[in-house]
């Protein structure tokens, strides 16, 4: 067991490995990276190596996956990510005003992390909430729909309180 992938993470990764044919462990690379990222917040070289070793896949092939998919963070990020959807339907409903409002609330620009290391602000492209525009997604899993400046304030303060949404 490597130090990076602990027993709990290994167990989770194994669940994904079991979904694919026994000689196709590589299929679990996507989720293995996600599981490691959930723990360490962003993926460093040694995390990629750990996934490669664990699944017995060449390091470069894991690296190819890492750099292709947008949910992987390749640079340091905060404990939580706030992504404002800026796809066309959301933009037509003021997504950039929402983004500007979040920037003001957090005192950072899009792409930056708050000083306390809590929140990183990013843009997301179409999160399939178009009929509920403008929309936001926290930690790539919690959807917030039809957000308004007041709602944004509430959502942000909940994250700040450490109350994982």
């Amino acid at each position: 067991m490597s130090q990076i992938i602990n027993e709990k993470m290994a167990k989770e990764i194994d669940k994904w490995v079991a979904k694919f044919p026994s000689d196709k462990k590589k299929s679990a690379v996507l989720m293995a990276l996600r599981i490691v990222q959930d723990e360490y917040k962003w993926l460093k070289k040694e995390h990629v190596q750990a996934v490669a070793d664990y699944l017995d896949v060449p390091n470069t092939e894991v690296g190819e996956v890492l750099t292709f998919y947008s949910l992987y963070q390749q640079k340091p990020v905060g404990n939580h990510t706030v992504k404002v959807c800026t796809s066309l339907s959301c933009c037509l409903n003021g997504a950039y005003s929402v983004l500007g409002y979040v920037e003001n609330e957090l005192g950072i620009k899009c792409g930056q992390t708050t000083k306390d290391g809590q929140i990183t602000l990013q843009e997301a492209e179409c999160i399939a909430a178009c009929a509920d525009a403008p929309a936001m997604i926290i930690d790539d899993k919690d959807f917030y729909r039809r957000v308004t400046p007041e709602k944004v304030k509430e959502i942000i303060s909940n994250i700040k309180d450490g109350d994982r949404p």
């Binding site: 292709f68 947008s70 409903n93 003021g94 492209e125 399939a128």
Partner: protein
């Protein structure tokens, strides 16, 4: 309104609609039980699907029954079914509802299709952000397996079917069927050259069928109520219903499952009309990869495959984006192209380079840095991508650009001639082209 939500969204207003109990209470799994009991000849099921007129609901609109007939079920090798739940076409938010509110109907559809293919394993590929959806689908599979509707020797029929939900990691192009197979194999989502087609050489090189979520979730209802019933809901060449997601500048954006052939006007009315009484400017009828339609053409348009095609666009995924007269078309297109530049997988030169050129020219236009002749240059670059790439992503760049310019060339010429000042901005005081018109929650038009 009784024609609303009859197929994939038929149970969405019932309590806890995602549970097995709720689904069985409306007749769920009756088609599957019947097949298992009677060992229905798969060819008969294919005939029913063909007769129903069901076409792929993911965007391409390929005839589902025909697609199902491509896999040789007597081939003794392992065969696979893949359900494409990687909903990501900008403007589309329909599969998200099926996955969260009606997962059992999708599972039943997957089981039936897998049975027809002779596939014992099926993957339901959900986009990486769909965590709640994933949990609902996992719970549905667990419930169905406990009742032996799935698993080994389903209800003593000798049929084995295992379904696995898997999650993506953020990529638009994975919605392309062969890119999805690559992603399932744990690789970058780069579309494969066809032929060989997935029906011969798909997941892990085995015969594979790939269908969209809405397509598969329609199947149980077709078999339950009959192919004729389904076909008659729609028009002659477009059978059944389709889920349309109405977004953009409307008063009540929403998701509506309506018979194919429903007039666009009716759909617009369901969505409360153009917001605050403004004027309709243009419509994207099937997600941002499809061609733009102007207001006049849209008003007598019927929402089915052939009528939208006759207006020069396509039904696509059913993501209908409405733009009112406060929208700067250059800004809207530039924004769409930023997305395509970002999401191009990069393997075909025309798409990789062309997407960058297109986005670059549009950015220059907005920044007031465009040169005379740039509108023609933009058009030429976009046109040259069409038909020169492995997958349809090339068209997804080419079609929007050429149609935006064809319909609103004067806006593009204006912004070039006026150092980045938008024609809309100059006509409507208070409108800011960078804001795409006004936010819905601000009553800016009272200005």
């Amino acid at each position: 309104m009784n024609s609303l939500n009859q197929v994939c969204l038929r149970n969405t207003d019932t309590d806890q609609s995602w549970t097995l109990e709720a689904y069985e209470s409306i007749g769920g799994y009756s088609a599957w039980r019947k097949i298992l009991k009677e060992k229905t000849d798969p060819n008969l099921i294919i005939e029913q699907i063909k007769k129903s007129g069901l076409r792929g609901r993911g965007g391409a609109g390929f005839a589902t029954g025909l697609k199902w007939s491509f896999v040789d079920r007597d081939n003794p090798t392992q065969k696979y079914l893949v359900c494409n739940s990687d909903e990501g076409e900008p403007g589309t938010c329909k599969d998200t509802l099926i996955l969260t509110l009606n997962p059992h109907q999708l599972i039943e559809g997957i089981a039936i299709c897998a049975y027809v293919m002779g596939a014992t394993k099926a993957y339901n590929y959900l986009r990486g952000e769909f965590i709640l959806h994933y949990k609902r689908c996992e719970a549905a599979i667990k419930e169905a397996t406990e009742k032996n509707l799935l698993g080994a020797d389903c209800l003593g029929s000798g049929v084995d079917i295992e379904i696995f939900n898997v999650l993506g990691a953020g990529s638009y192009i994975v919605g392309e069927e062969t890119a999805m197979l690559e992603s399932l194999e744990g690789k970058r989502g780069m579309p494969r050259y066809k032929p060989p087609f997935p029906a011969m050489h798909g997941l892990y090189g085995k015969p594979t069928t790939i269908n969209n979520t809405e397509t598969l979730a329609s199947v149980p209802v077709i078999l339950e109520k009959g192919a004729d019933w389904f076909a008659e809901l729609g028009t002659e060449r477009s059978g059944g219903t389709k889920i349309f997601c109405i977004s953009g500048h409307v008063n009540k954006p929403g998701v509506f499952e309506v018979p194919l052939g429903t007039p666009f006007k009716d759909l617009l009315e369901m969505a409360g009309g153009i917001r605050q009484g403004r004027k309709l400017k243009a419509v994207i009828p099937g997600g941002t990869s499809m061609k733009l339609i102007n207001a006049n053409d849209s008003l007598d348009m019927k929402m089915d495959y052939s009528d939208i095609a006759s207006k020069g666009s396509a039904l696509g995924s059913g993501g209908v984006i409405i733009m009112d007269d406060s929208t700067c078309m250059v800004q809207a297109l530039c924004h769409m192209m930023r997305f395509y530049e970002e999401e191009s997988c990069g393997q075909c030169t025309p798409c990789r380079e062309g997407s960058g050129w297109v986005y670059g020219i549009l950015k220059d236009m907005l920044a007031g840095k465009a040169k005379p002749g740039d509108v023609d240059e933009l058009y030429r670059v976009a046109k040259n991508i069409e038909g020169r790439t492995i997958c349809a992503f090339g068209e997804a760049i080419s079609w929007p650009v050429t149609s935006f310019v064809d319909l609103f060339r004067e806006e593009f010429e204006f912004i070039v001639a006026n150092n980045g000042k938008s024609m809309v901005e100059s006509k409507l005081p208070g409108a800011n082209h960078l804001a795409f018109g006004w936010p819905a929650y601000e009553q800016r038009d009272k200005l």
